[in-house]
Amino acid sequence: MITGNALKAVLSAAFLFIASCGFNYETNVESGTRQGILHIGNGDEPRELDPHVVTGRIESDLCLALLEGLVGWHPEGKRLIPAAAKSWEQSEDARTYRFHLREDAKWSNGDPVTAADFVYSWRRALLPALGNNYAYMLYYIRNAERFHQGEITDFSQVGITAPDDLTLVVELENPTPFFLQLLTHMSYYPVHQATVEAFGAADERGTRWTRPGNHVGNGPFKLKEWVLNRSIVVEKNEHYWDAGTVKLNQIVFYPIQNATTEERMFRAGQLHITNNMPVDKIAHYRQERPGALKIFPFFSTYYYLFNTTATPLDQVKVRQALTMSIDRQQIVDKITKAGEIPAFSYTPPDTNGYTATAQVRYDLERARALLAEAGYPDGTGFPGLELMYNTSEGHRRIAIAIQQMWKTNLNIDVTLTNQDWKVYLDKRDGKDYQVARAGWIGDYLDPNTFLDMYTTSSGNNDTGWSHRRYDALIARAGATTDQDRRFALFQDAESILMTELPIMPIYTYVSKSLVSPDVRGWRPNILDIHPFKYISLVPSADELSADDLSADDLSADDLSADDAD
């Protein structure tokens, strides 16, 4: 039996124990800042780390740490800077680029990075059997599309050559004003030939070359540890040519899907930077810790995909009715609540000077009429729809709101299913869905990054939609140098897209994250790209850094497409 006194003693001992824990315990952020280890939320478990296989944001951030393209973004996201290439020249007709690689660039195993590595990597990215969804990013290179489609098998006909170890010559199909921006994309990253081929053929997906211990990269960091569903750790690559600039010793990426969990971890000092943040907490942070809250316009559209290969979504009128019957303003005001902009076209407004004139409307009467014309007056006889989203409370809330809007406005029953990220991507790729949530982040500042996704040959067109005139317009825009004429062609293309509606735009994103005041060199920008090599950690009090970090507010106008040093 415990007597009164004994009980008191036990309780006070317990209290002391808890209190002492509280005082001595060092949080991840404190110890990380001291040791130069960045703890960052990364949304979900990556599907792969192979730059020529992956498509998602989760993976591209990891690739940004592990690999480096010829050109990179300045940390402010406004201009391009030399990366693996130290300089380059452009020919008079703007169709040929000559890149000069760095003599001191090395892979993480000490091998030199050569022009041949780039030739090998880009060839690999284009190998038909690899099934790279992003292969079309390389189609601007002469004959690359034909090689990828299997029309030619001789790679020497493709416009990529390496006259010597440090020179890479790229010939383009057409003058491409945004070509240098493309080079920052992971599909143009190099891979280490010996490593890739030690674990399988060049065009084999999912081999073990991306595992810790095997992985070799040319980025500022190298892969140290990968524990499924727990964390991925990368550490400083001492062979990196610019290792002097890299301040961080390690980065720990956590696959946290749940924004609420992430916010709690941030508050408990477990994370320096979050991937997302729960909308319900925005008001609180605006008031209490404005320095940590980073909300900025983001070059990205949130939308739904319609699988146009199956009934009832193979009917244009059904897709139009569905698109016209959701109240986007209400969704951004009442559900997402972070200042998102309702999207009535696919490309975000003012994309480097381009704003789509073709817009979808919110028009219930017309929507009901269209549904009736499609053979389902007042939703009678409509087979019902399944709406798929990847597990996240944010997507769930939007899905619930849209489910009810379709029910109330069109009398259509929608069931919701949520899937883990990998399953979700597989189902999208295999067109094993009816309606699916999607988001697209522009890969470079040009309408083309959005619009060329829905051409017939694009690997990222998961809707089954194919339109000859649309393909022709995008191809013509690609062959045009005059910016006004290009934009006019894009306007025509987008008006087809917004009439045919294989996709239903919902809103233009803002990027939302929480950033610890200890983090320096993290600049908000419209592409939401934050090269890790410029990030450093300095212990600081909350108030100091609030001003420091929110100083530079970017707008889309500040960004010019392709000026490089």
């Binding site: 729960p278 409370e393 489910q403």
Partner: protein, 295 residues
């Protein structure tokens, strides 16, 4: 206090003294137990309320009022409204249908399989016992979530399957407990008496063994119900159980947790009702055990 059971009367002594059946006897004792009767009353009220939901509330559980959004309790919405402006009371009433149904049906499934399996293994003993219990061990070793996900993937996600799937997993512990009890009971004199009277094994298990282990089984069953209710929310969250706009207590709580600092009522009310239900079940379970084991 003396140890419970030390003053246990001989089997069927009560029945001999007063000319009532053991069942009536137990009911009489249960009625005297205030806590148990309170628990029973609460459960009955909840069950009736869930059935009468459409007549109690003027709101629909799915209709949204985004303009209203999350609002604290008010005369219009007694328990407030959720993120989509849906009346929380309404969603709790409709949710209780699913939660109570899952709780009781899945527990009943677990009870049925677990008791028959455990009693058979325990009573027959020997090789049969070994084989049956090893089967239980093997199923135990299967990660339960994967097992349910497999079931759902193969058979699709529907509510009846959810009941069965949860029940089909929860019976394992029940079978072990029952077996242990049966091993204990089968050495008792009254079982030997039954054997010498020439009753078949099935009759002995059904008439003599199972009634004597009911006390433990019922207590365990009352603990299974809350487990199952929460399990349903976990599966629903994974996309395997019920799907929006339907609601259940477990789902309401898991959504409430997401926003507990901004809109605490979304967590407090569903959590309170769930806790009250669990208490009621435990009170009732304790009462039942006392009432039944007194024989």
């Amino acid at each position: 206090m003396a140890e419970p059971g030390a003053n246990r009367t001989p089997v069927n002594a009560g029945a001999m003294r007063i000319s009532t059946s053991p069942r009536q006897d137990a009911w009489r004792r249960l009625k005297k137990n205030k806590a148990a009767m309170f628990g029973l009353a609460v459960l009955a009220v909840l069950a009736v309320l869930s059935l009468l939901a459409p007549w109690i509330t003027p709101y629909s559980y799915s209709a949204q009022d985004l303009e209203l959004g999350p609002s604290p309790p008010s005369p219009e919405h007694w328990l407030g409204s959720d993120l989509f402006g849906r009346d929380l009371l309404t969603r709790m009433l409709y949710g209780s249908r699913i939660s109570l149904a899952v709780g009781f049906i899945a527990t009943a499934v677990a009870l049925f399989i677990g008791v028959s399996w455990g009693a058979t293994a325990g009573y027959l003993g020997g090789r049969v016992d070994t084989i049956m219990m090893r089967i239980v061990d093997v199923l135990y070793a299967l990660p339960f979530t994967i097992f349910i996900i497999l079931l759902m993937v193969v058979f699709g996600s529907n509510i009846i399957l959810l009941f069965l799937a949860i029940g089909a997993v929860e019976w394992l512990t029940m079978a072990r407990i029952v077996r242990g009890q049966v091993l204990h009971v089968k050495q008792k004199d009254f079982v030997e008496a039954a054997v010498s009277l020439g009753l078949s094994r099935f009759q002995i298990i059904r008439k003599h063994v199972i009634p004597n282990i009911m006390g433990t089984v019922i207590v365990y069953a009352t603990l299974t119900v809350p487990n199952v209710i929460l399990l349903e929310s976990f599966l629903s969250f994974l996309g395997l159980g019920i799907q929006p706009p339907q609601s259940s207590w477990g789902l309401l709580i898991s959504y409430g947790v997401e926003t507990m600092e901004e809109y605490p009522w979304l967590l407090i009310f569903p959590a309170t009702v769930l806790s009250v239900t669990l208490f009621s079940l435990n009170f009732l379970g304790d009462g039942l055990r006392d009432a039944l084991s007194e024989r």
